[in-house]
């Protein structure tokens, strides 16, 4: 690259190059994750400087096995608990079905066949999780693509004027004006401001400022916004609806999605989009046919990330829902009601709600495979 780099200010390192660099230096990856792959002298190099000695390999396996036990044991504990009778759970630790205790499907039977809310809560969780994540992805992808490709230079004073306009609208409405009039007044104030005093302040915000502002929306602890949210949806008469949950989760997740996807879009070579423009594509066509497919790994990873958040969310759901729109986490907690914690029922519910996520992660994992951009540019 000669002067094109200097003039168009390409990112100095594309994802491709980074991926290639990672492939070329597999040291860490191999040392940490792929210990067995290189064993038995199958390496192409006569002496692989990164190969571990037998003793080091044994040590590494010991650490990994110990760690897997720590990670996997709670899951095992939960699975066995779901097949225990209340007596077996409460009489102290027992571990092996058939040896320590007799397995029973009572809890499963109860949750699936007798508990009336299971199906509804499961459907709510799926609908809220999937719909909110897809909406988040659409909004987040558009915003982060815009932030990575277009330069925004809004005046700080214009932003201040906009906020002041909102204040005017709210104040006049509270003072007794019809809300339509309040909004009109606010807009008028905003328009008058950007035409007059706001022009005199030259200080402008950049894309980085916008991105930081977006992520800063997550700095506030959720507990601080829960009550305003409750009042908000109460006024809109949307309490205990899936809509309320979807709107809230989209609002909470969009900043994270933008933050995660921004680097991903920035890493897609601009040349690809220029090639598409030369091939006759309009901007929307370029985005749809070229940018999105190239961004699939990032989109899938982001989808999984925000989907899990929405799937497991408890605090907001506990405030905004009471019966119809309850999600699985609510139902799990409901098992600790008047009769004390029903561990066996909880275990069954948690397993039921975990399974789809595990399956989805397994299915989508292949889309996250790295190096999708390899071959796009250079060799």
């Amino acid at each position: 690259m000669s002067e094109s780099t200097q003039i168009s200010a390409d990112p100095p390192k594309t994802v491709t190059e980074t991926a290639a660099a990672t492939e070329a230096q597999p040291g860490w990856g191999r040392a940490l994750f792929g210990l067995g792959r290189n064993g038995g002298g199958r390496s192409r190099l006569a002496h692989d400087p990164l190969a571990l000695s037998p003793r080091a390999r044994a040590g590494a396996y010991a650490v990994l096995v110990a760690w897997s036990l720590i990670v996997l044991f709670p899951i095992y504990w939960m699975i066995t608990t779901s097949f225990k009778t209340p007596l077996d759970v409460n009489s102290g630790p027992v571990y092996l079905p058939g040896v320590d205790f007799e397995g029973t499907t009572e809890a499963w039977d109860y949750i699936i066949n007798e508990e009336p809310q299971t199906t509804r809560a499961f459907v709510n969780t799926v609908v809220v999780g999937v719909v909110s994540s897809l909406l988040t992805l659409v909004l987040g992808a558009s915003a982060s693509y815009g932030l990575s490709r277009l330069e925004f230079r809004p005046r700080l004073a214009s932003v201040v004027a906009f906020l002041a306009g909102i204040a005017v609208a709210v104040a006049t409405t509270i003072a007794g004006l019809a809300w339509q009039m309040g909004i009109l007044l606010g807009l008028a104030f905003f328009a008058a401001s950007i035409a007059t005093w706001a022009r005199r302040f030259e200080f402008r915000l950049s894309n980085d400022d916008i991105a930081f502002w977006l992520i800063s929306q997550r700095i506030l602890p959720p507990i601080a916004v829960v009550l305003p949210l409750y009042v908000f949806f109460q006024q809109l008469q949307l309490l205990d609806t899936r809509t309320a949950l979807i709107v809230t989760y989209v609002g909470a997740n969009v900043p994270i999605a933008i933050w995660l996807l921004r680097d991903f879009f920035a890493g897609i070579p601009v040349h690809l989009e220029e090639a598409a423009a030369i091939d006759g594509a309009t901007r929307p066509q370029t985005f749809w046919f070229v940018v999105l497919p190239a961004a699939v790994p990032g989109l899938v990873a982001t989808f999984l990330f925000i989907m899990v958040f929405a799937w497991n969310e408890f605090l907001i759901a506990s405030v905004l829902t009471s019966a119809d729109a309850q999600t699985m986490p609510m139902l799990v907690v409901a098992q600790n009601a008047t009769r004390g914690p029903q561990w066996w029922n909880m275990s069954v519910l948690i397993l039921i709600m975990s399974l789809p996520v595990i399956l989805m992660a397994g299915f989508l994992e292949r889309f996250i495979a790295r190096g999708l951009l390899v071959g796009a540019v250079k060799g």
């Binding site: 094109s4 220029e274 598409a276 091939d279 006759g280």
Partner: protein, 392 residues
């Protein structure tokens, strides 16, 4: 099919940086025009303006008889081959080549037919179902070419398409591109920093130079056939840029005594034959400084018996054996100014390099030897030290 015309084309970026100033140039229909110049000379910017990837901030740019200044790339009927190929990583070779046709809503059957035809022409038919990451550099280059050819555009724009290939493949692809052009006969504008590519491929070559620190200098230095550029460089920059190794320059004074015109080349006095003075009449009325240039390949270790010879003496400092020829870097006994301005070479660089001769290998001197070189006086080039222009 269409030619291209640039009339006073310039480019200033929003931050005030100037990349291109007043480029006036015509690319004839079917011509292979090469834009060549060092890094930062604006050649890629000019190409990207032709493509519609950069806005034109001054002048008019027309393709055929249409002014295309404000048109997006898709309305210009051009294609561009990128330096790094820019293949779509998620599409197969066939999909990559056919993408433009798909956007043009060319029916599927016809699309497949045209893709196949192009793939056969470029001998990539057997990799047509592979994705770019499975391809070698040369194959990717061919796919990028195929993506351009299949569109049947009125002009090809190529941005250093061979610079990512290894040397051997580059030479092979170079001749394939030449053959392809003579077969398709489509107007082609080809950007390169490699003057060998420029000289071998171009019907005509445009030499570009950066606009300079104040952005006052027009980029375009000379447009001409490779032979014109080599034999009659318009100024010091072109003279220094075209040819490898570069032309040697010295700053000296023309002295006229009666009908005899001469100058000092270090300790050697060079008397110019009447023929040379006649062809360069502007030398006559000068007792003023002049820059004399001579190409390394004009020097010889053998005296020519049919022509008058000028002798240049010096001490060999570096001898490089290249097989068919040898390069000898030498210094003159008496120090002489080595020209660096007007050529964009640094003074230190020019001084370090001394003079270079490209000579026959049969009687190669050793390092430290005192050497006599001979050259024919008509091989001298003369330049005005004020503005760097050729005095011919």
């Amino acid at each position: 099919m269409a030619g291209m015309n640039l009339d006073g084309v310039g480019k200033t970026y929003p931050d005030g940086t100037r990349a291109v100033r007043s480029v006036n140039m015509t690319v004839e229909d079917g011509e292979f025009m090469v834009l060549v110049g060092p890094s930062g000379c604006g050649k890629t910017t000019v190409l990207r303006m032709m493509a519609g990837l950069e806005s034109v901030t001054e002048g008019t740019l027309s393709i055929g008889d249409r002014v295309v200044n404000g048109l997006p790339p898709r309305e210009r009927d051009i294609v561009m081959v990128f330096q790094n190929y820019a293949l779509y990583p998620h599409m197969t070779v066939a999909e990559n080549i056919g993408f433009g046709l798909r956007l043009q809503k060319v029916p599927k059957a016809e699309r497949a037919e045209r893709v196949k035809e192009v793939a056969e022409m470029l001998e990539i038919i057997d990799i047509i179902d592979k994705k770019p990451k499975a391809l070698s550099g040369g194959q990717r280059q061919r796919v990028a070419m195929g993506r351009a050819i299949v569109r049947r555009p009125s002009a090809f724009l190529m941005d250093e398409p061979l610079s990512n290939l290894d040397a051997k493949l580059r030479v092979q692809m170079r001749s394939e591109l030449i053959q392809l052009h003579s077969r398709l006969n489509v107007t082609t504008v080809y950007v390169t920093h490699d003057q060998v590519e420029a000289m071998t491929m171009g019907d005509r070559v445009a030499v570009l130079r950066s606009v300079g620190g104040e952005g006052q200098r027009p980029n375009l230095q000379q447009v001409g056939t490779p032979q014109e550029l080599y034999e009659q460089p318009a100024n010091l920059f072109v003279a220094g840029f075209i040819g490898s190794p570069s032309m040697n320059f010295i700053e000296t004074n023309m002295e006229t005594q009666g009908s005899e015109v001469s100058f000092m080349l270090g300790v050697d006095r060079v008397v110019l034959p009447a023929g040379v003075v006649e062809s360069t009449p502007r030398l006559l009325n000068r007792d003023t400084p002049v820059i004399v240039g001579f190409r390394p390949e004009s020097l010889s270790l053998r005296k020519s018996h049919d022509h008058p010879n000028v002798t240049v003496t010096g001490t060999a400092e570096v001898t490089e054996y290249l097989g068919a020829a040898a390069h000898i870097t030498f210094r003159k006994a008496v120090g002489i100014a080595v020209v660096s301005h007007h050529t964009d070479r640094s003074t230190a660089d020019a001084e370090r390099h001394g003079f270079v001769a490209q000579v026959e290998t049969d009687s190669m001197p050793q390092t430290g030897d005192r050497v006599e070189f001979f050259l024919r006086p008509e091989h001298f080039h003369f330049f005005d030290p004020e503005d760097g222009r050729s005095l011919r």
